[in-house]
Symmetry: C2
């Protein structure tokens, strides 16, 4: 596996564009994106578990279920098209129909993504004008992925892209993607949109099963604020244009592809976690020694979601009591008197807790380690062999500022 510079246009045959349509008045930000595949791309998708689902989520779920392959995705920010009733769903269908007409495709070959304010109808005149602008702009180059990655952001501060190359059957296969996160990022997927493209050839059912499994250890292990959204979507599109042999079973080729797809999902997820609203650092929580994989996940997510722990990480405060406390209310059974905790960052590692009580450590040294941009809490519960990692960020003054009046 080789990490490469690129995004959703890295694999063969994928084009993209990002433009400003003007959905949110007074902003200069790009707000609509399109991804296009020259050949039909087998589609897999994972979606929010929130029972309140936005119109585009319902549409994309239908495509994943009923369509073998699709050709394009249209995404807008500013308005989520959630809680918008029949009118909202009809607007999503209208978007797909318009893009299909312009691209000479069928309506069912166009996936739709929306993110932004819940409860408002899309300004369809602006959206339609945006689609008209997008179609002639799509291109298979580095910049076009950057434009698309920028266009799907909301309160994110950084664009998010990742790409790798893997060898399958002697041929190079590329996997690349873009995503947006920020606000409402949580286990079970927050307000996040992710679009991953690959020129691999793979069986649709196998791709769906694989992506579902990967999401559990990547996008479902990140948390910004504990809220899960109405619009979360990760789509994976595989258009076979690498010319490699079709992956049909869990063989060596599948394993090579799996490694690449896992990497892209995990990198995108970590970029989201480290770019939570107002956040100043990526907070990683690694739990070892759990009795089951699921319990390892629950424990690490409970710590990474704790507001008190996140505020302490912001304050560079080695307040391990809050970590033990968050483990304790997770619902998972363990012996608090067997827990070890260490903090780790680029400048070193420090043991903070041994057997459930404070180790003899220097607060000054701990603060130094907690001052880095990426901080890891390493927790051992000595209750078994399973482990899991969760990613989140610190809780800051800016988080409150951003969310106190998001709609204005």
């Amino acid at each position: 596996m080789k990490i490469i510079d690129g995004g959703v246009t890295a694999p063969k045959g994928f084009l993209a564009a990002g433009i400003r349509a003007g959905i949110k008045p007074g902003s200069e930000k790009k707000d609509m994106a399109m991804i296009y595949s020259e050949q039909p791309a087998v589609l897999a998708g994972t979606f929010t578990r929130n029972i309140v689902k936005a119109a585009p989520v319902k549409w994309d779920q239908k495509l994943v279920k009923e369509q073998e392959a699709i050709r394009a995705v249209v995404v807008n920010t500013g308005i989520a098209n959630a809680c918008t009733g029949t009118e909202g769903y009809e607007n999503t269908q209208e978007e797909a129909a318009l893009a299909a007409g312009l691209l000479n495709l069928k309506q069912e070959e166009i996936a739709i993504g929306s993110t932004g304010v819940i409860g408002q109808q899309l300004p369809m005149d602006i959206i339609k004008e945006g689609i008209h602008q997008l179609v002639p702009k799509i291109a298979h180059d580095r910049q076009s992925s950057r434009d698309a990655a920028e266009a799907i952001l909301t309160t994110d501060t950084k664009s998010k892209e990742a790409a790798v190359s893997v060898e399958i059957d002697g041929k190079e296969v590329i996997i690349g993607g873009i995503c947006k996160g920020s606000g409402m990022i949580h286990p079970n997927m927050g307000t996040m949109l992710g679009y991953i493209a690959t020129d691999a050839a793979i069986d649709k059912e196998l791709l769906q099963e694989l992506q579902k499994e990967i999401v559990e250890d990547t996008f479902n292990m990140i948390s910004v604020d504990g809220d899960t959204s109405t619009n979360d979507t990760v789509l994976v599109m595989a258009n076979a244009m690498s010319g490699c042999k079709k992956i049909q079973e869990k063989d060596r080729d599948y394993e090579a592809f799996r490694e690449g797809l896992l990497y892209v999902n995990r990198e995108l997820a970590k970029q989201i976690a480290g770019d939570g609203e107002g956040c100043t650092k990526l907070f990683e929580v690694h739990v070892e020694g759990a009795d089951t994989k699921e319990n390892a996940r629950i424990l690490s997510k409970s710590v990474v979601t704790s507001s008190l722990t996140k505020a302490a990480i912001y304050g560079k405060d080695a307040n391990w009591g809050r970590i033990l406390c968050a483990l304790g209310y997770s619902g998972v059974n363990f012996d608090p008197e067997k827990v070890d905790i260490a903090f780790e960052s680029a400048v070193g590692t420090i043991d903070i807790v041994k057997d459930g009580i404070a180790a003899d450590y220097s607060e000054e040294e701990a603060t130094k380690i907690l001052s880095e941009e990426k901080v890891t809490a390493k927790i051992h519960v000595h209750n078994g062999e399973e482990e899991a990692t969760a990613w989140g960020c610190d809780l800051t003054h800016d988080y409150v500022s951003i969310n106190a009046d998001y709609r204005s």
Copy 2:
């Protein structure tokens, strides 16, 4: 039932005191309290469900289980005596032994409460000196309850007291209490300590059963930040000194007592919710039309705990999408297209959502309603007959400031 001005010294035979022992250097705040009953008081208690339990919680749980009655409680703030191992538990026992010696009681007649930083040992010299100071100060007057209520606070901004008088068997029975909350307040009880005293005569098992039931609808329905603590404790002490008939079964007397005890628990819980760290308003969430009582509780707690909703309430922003979203990820099944939402405060009520989509309302009017000190979200899910209320507060810049460096 008559609401009266008073706290834990309102019932006959209860004395209290609050003093500054000096546990946290550089502070002028009172930090130790004592409550004392002239006659043995039947003891009931509810405790944190966190599996990491502080030493005083383990001690008090033992008393509730093994003792028919106790005589006094000693409380300190500054250090929680949690995650302190054998030394911590021995310190708790030593506190009880010292207070017992000075009061001419048995060690097992003294309950202990601690709240503050996790993971540090109590400064026993200061604690012991504090107990010596407390004993001669205890008094049965209004001010002594105020002193005790003040002494148990941590980052709370206001003292919390409540009292009522009820008539049982023709005699006046008083129920009064004090509590502290702030930070880590959540369903399943946050870092909160509550001490309720009554001069009623009641069977111990009946009191325990009643208090357990009441806590579900009061202290377990408040949330400040979703974290639950290692130290949460509510004790109820009944010393029979009103001279009323002993309550032995669920008769009319029991109902009168139940009403009073529920009121005191609920008032104290609401005072905690409205005084969360950095909070500017009490946020009440009332859910109607749930299929089960438990689901009504889960739905209302999910909304009151949502960071995004709480930040919107702080910003006086009628962002009902976040409320629908929080209902949607609660895990409770309902039809999002049947949900109605209204906001209510002292200045009026406004319908915001009808059948899952935006009602035709004035944002200006909504902001006016959301600007009051107490704001209620009234939610109807049209799925049954059950209802529940949860209390919380808004999420503010000051919450982050307080928790970024609590230990310094």
